[in-house]
Amino acid sequence: MKTTSTTSPILSARGLHHSFGPTQALRGIDLDVQAGEVLAVMGPSGSGKSTLLHCLAGVFIPDAGAVTYRPPGRSGLEISALRESKRARLRLTDFGFVFQFGQLLPELSAVDNVSIPLLLAGTRRPEAMRRSSELLERLELDGLGARLPGELSGGQAQRVAVARALVTAPAVLFADEPTGSLDSLASENVLTLMLEFVRETGTTVVMITHDARTAAYADREVIVRDGDIAAGYRVTA
């Protein structure tokens, strides 16, 4: 099934197939993600949603099909045709990632964790620290920059991870069960802050979730089942 919208897509997937040995994870998915939208990808475990996210982000090269990225003001790139080093660079500069677990470097302070993507992109450290601190403040983590991940609550650590994903001002934020390990209150807090920020900056979000309440924060949701899109889109706003 093909799911599209009326505005220009920032990411387009066409005919994505991907297998892990005998298991077919994706079976010819077509998907457009519009610039600035928050897209929720839902589906049962093993349906292929994480594989879809990894293909869209250039982590996996699909066995067949193509993913095209059209950054604002630049010409389109077929991600699946790029070499790993180019894809890594693209993930660093244009994409941000938030995961469910274990994403912060345990020995680094919160502010250092956030500044790593900027340092990797070549920003000078003082500037990286300044921008990281500002973002932590924006995500209501002011005063916690010097703490280690082990000294933060689950919600605080997840907001640090969100800050790290957003600090490079990515065009697309990929979130894989970003609140899956949090209680409902912390989950709501993280999502609210994250979505406030992305809507202000016009960042596109592709968010995988099991949770209908989380999906309700999205502009649109798609359901993946057995490696294909199982339901159409829904505009929530």
Binding site: T93, F97, F99, L120, E151
Partner: protein, 758 residues
């Protein structure tokens, strides 16, 4: 304990099997080396015990009148001609041989091709009860017993260069009296008159079994220090390898806790799952050690290999090592798991290292203080307090050794703090942060290398003084390095000595043969302070500035390997009339064949009272030769220690990658290039290594200087031999290689699959 649960914990996945294989292999290598090193230490001790009889010095062969304050004949200074001890020849009365005694002369300078031969000459009554170790009854005059290695040499060398020195072959010395299969030992038979002639023979009624004499404590201490340098990295390797994959195990244990296992059950599982591969590895190590023993015995230490049996540790030692390693690794794994407080949702308590504090400087400073105090007492206050000096020097050394390990984490922490402040790149920030949070664990991975480098620096510094002070030089006014000299016995006529000198002069490779004269034989009371010779012969001794008289004189110190050139003076008398020949000096072209031929001829001439000696012989006899030998042992030890430490570093680095595979995988997923991860891993190994390595080298030479100045303030520590720099370079290369070897792990273990939770 539920076997199913245990099986799930131990071999739950393919990565578990890999980890178990890693532990098994690491423990096998560690146990194998431990047993070989233990065997080596036993072997050194066993061979010293077998060779103890060679240290027998006996009792004086003459009685000295009580009124005289002269001592017994000074045979213990082999480099000098027989002492001009008046009592020896004029006042002393020979003590007669009895069936319970033999007359023994130890020839301290029996040298062949730069190798010292342990020679003992014996004269005995036909009814003697004394038995020589490895030989039995003393050989008859003109016959000899040789060690197998020496006999092989004799048989493969022209007789005029070696065999003629000893006489007729009577048999080989039994292995039970030989330090090692390469030992060069000869026991010759002589007449009582021959041995009494030079005044250097002693009466012996039995042979000592104490291999070290008065220096036993120092010798054992030096061995212990060397053993520690090697054992430490081995133990470290076992410790590091049994902690392999700790992070993966924590997750597995958390799962077990989630499904109902108690903390005690998880600790027991941790202990058992470490004990099983440790036991396998230890058993494998015992087998490996047994297989490698004959190979290890071929490594020459202090000039000789060992007998295979020397390296055997016995079943008790093997069982003890296996039991100890398995128990220690199991208990450590169990305790580690308990300490980490693994709950159903993973590690419930963050396990933080205790931050190292400046107090860690104390042992190092105490060690330096103790050694400095010893030097101040000996050199500045000039007070000899033997019961205090050795403990201060050796205790200080041990404190410094421990102090380096103790201070390492604190220094690493300090450097990482500075590094974090100055860090500009992502790799630098991550590496410095990790080191700052875990300085003890970070330093542990390189501590084996650091200790090995320290100990070998001490030995390199210590052995450098010997080269400085003892290398013979060819300068006018000094005895030439390629010459041999022997003092002439009492009663030899000028014609006899001149004939012997002429015979020596005809030997191939001999350039000069000079006879020196004096008022009496050099070991007699009337021997004057000078030696006289014909001015025409002076160039043959290397003199250039020769007075215009027919006869010239030189101080007899000329024969004592003076380092200060001596000048010739015109002799008061114009002729040699009235003087007797006192010394023969033969100059050669320096080739080993010419030297050995001249030595053999002089010793067989029948006119000499002492064995022919060359200036370079002193290096072979020096007490410091032990240190040189031990320096070789230290380099060997360093090689082993560095290899093990390199392996430990590789395992620790691999472990650092594997334990962080998920988070590093996520970093890669977010766009961190593999090259940054490589730089990160390299920095994490390089920072602690370089921080403390420089300190180790500096301290090593400082300690060497303190030790040698504690022994003799005439010594100077200079640049070490090239071997040291080669060993150091190899160490760094090995460390680099160990880190590079883990690069392959980075790409494979930080892929997307590493980011998934099982």
């Amino acid at each position: 304990m539920n076997p199913g649960l245990l099986k799930l914990a131990v071999v739950g996945s393919r990565s578990s099997l890999g980890r178990l294989a890693g532990i098994t292999a690491g423990v096998a290598v560690g146990v194998c080396l431990l047993l070989l090193l233990w065997g080596g230490a036993n072997g050194l001790s066993a061979r010293d015990n077998r060779g103890a009889w060679l240290r027998e010095t006996g009792s004086p062969a003459v009685s000295v009148p009580a009124a005289s304050d002269a001592s017994v004949p000074a045979a213990s200074n082999p480099a000098a001609p027989p002492a001009s001890d008046p009592s020896a020849s004029q006042q002393a009365t020979p003590l007669p041989l009895t069936p319970d005694t033999v007359l023994m002369r130890a020839n301290p300078v029996e040298v062949f091709r730069g190798e010292l031969i342990n020679r003992r000459d014996f004269a005995a009554l036909g009814s003697t009860n004394v038995r020589i170790p490895g030989v039995g009854r003393p050989p008859a005059p003109g016959r000899y017993y040789a060690s197998p290695a020496l006999q092989r040499l004799i048989e493969s060398t022209p007789r005029d260069q070696l065999g003629d020195r000893f006489g007729e072959f009577a048999g080989t010395i039994d292995d039970a009296a030989l330090p090692g299969p390469d030992s060069l030992i000869v026991v010759t038979g002589a007449t009582e008159a021959e041995l009494r002639q030079g005044g250097t023979a002693f009466l012996v009624s039995g042979f000592t079994t104490n291999p070290y004499g008065g220096s036993a404590a120092a010798y054992v201490t030096v061995l212990l220090i060397g053993a520690m340098a090697v054992f430490f990295p081995v133990l470290l390797l076992i410790s590091i390898v049994t902690g392999l994959g700790a992070a993966q195990r924590r997750e597995r244990f958390a799962t077990l806790r989630l499904i109902g296992a108690s903390p005690q059950a998880v600790s027991r599982i941790a202990a058992v799952e470490t004990a099983v591969p440790s036991l396998l590895g230890a058993a494998l190590g015992v087998v490996l050690a047994a297989l490698l023993r004959p190979v290890a015995a071929q490594i020459p230490v202090n000039g000789t290999r060992m007998f295979d049996a020397d390296l055997a540790t016995g079943w008790a030692a093997g069982t003890a090592v296996v039991g100890l390693v398995v128990t220690a690794s199991a208990v450590a794994a169990g305790n580690r798991t308990t300490r980490e407080g693994i709950g159903p949702l993973g590690v419930t308590r963050a396990v933080h290292e205790k931050t190292p504090t400046p107090w860690r400087m104390v042992p190092l400073l105490a060690g330096l203080g103790a050694m400095t105090a010893a030097v101040v007492i000996i050199r500045v206050l000039e007070v000899r307090v033997p019961w205090l000096e050795s403990p201060l020097l050796i205790g200080g050394f041990m404190l410094i050794l421990v102090g380096i390990v103790v201070i390492g984490p604190w220094l690493t922490l300090c450097v990482s703090r500075v590094g974090l402040r100055r860090a500009r790149s992502a790799a630098a920030v991550i590496a410095a942060s990790r080191i700052q949070r875990t300085p003890v664990a970070t330093f542990r991975s390189v501590s084996g290398l650091v200790i090995a480098v320290f100990v070998v620096s001490v030995f390199a510094g210590g052995s450098s003084i010997i080269q400085t002070t003892e290398a013979p030089t060819a300068r006018p006014g000094l005895l030439q390095p390629a010459s041999l000299h022997a003092t002439v016995g009492t009663g030899q006529t000028p014609d006899q000595v001149t004939a012997a000198a002429s015979k020596a002069a005809e030997l191939p490779g001999v350039r000069s043969s000079v006879v020196g004269y004096g008022p009496a034989a050099l070991h007699e009371r009337d021997a004057g302070p000078e030696i006289y010779l014909r001015a025409a012969d002076a160039p043959g001794l290397g003199f250039e500035d020769i007075p215009g008289t027919e006869v010239v004189a030189v101080d007899s110190a000329f024969l004592r390997f003076s380092t200060q050139p001596l000048a010739l003076a015109p002799a008061p008398a114009g002729t040699l009339d009235g003087l007797v020949p006192v010394v023969m000096v033969v100059g050669t072209d320096g080739t080993p064949e010419a030297m050995d031929r001249a030595r053999t001829t002089l010793n067989r001439s029948g006119v000499t009272a002492t064995p022919a000696t060359s200036p370079s012989d002193i290096q072979l006899q020096s007490a410091t030769r032990l240190v040189q030998g031990l320096a070789v042992l230290a380099y060997l030890g360093m090689f082993v220690a560095v290899a093990i430490a390199g392996l430990s570093l590789a395992v620790a680095t691999a472990s650092a990658v594997l334990d962080r595979r998920r988070v590093l995988g996520l970093m890669r997923l977010m766009g961190m290039p593999v090259s940054v991860l490589r730089r990160l891993i390299t920095r994490e190994a390089a920072v602690p290594l370089l921080t403390v390595l420089l300190l180790s080298i500096g301290l090593g030479f400082l300690v060497a200087w303190l030790m040698v100045t504690g022994i003799n303030d005439a010594y100077r520590v200079t640049w070490p031999a090239p071997d040291y720099f080669i060993a150091l370079g190899l160490s760094l290369l090995l460390a680099l290689g160990a880190v590079i070897a883990t690069f392959g792990l980075i790409r494979g273990n930080t892929g997307i699959s590493a980011t998934r939770f099982e």
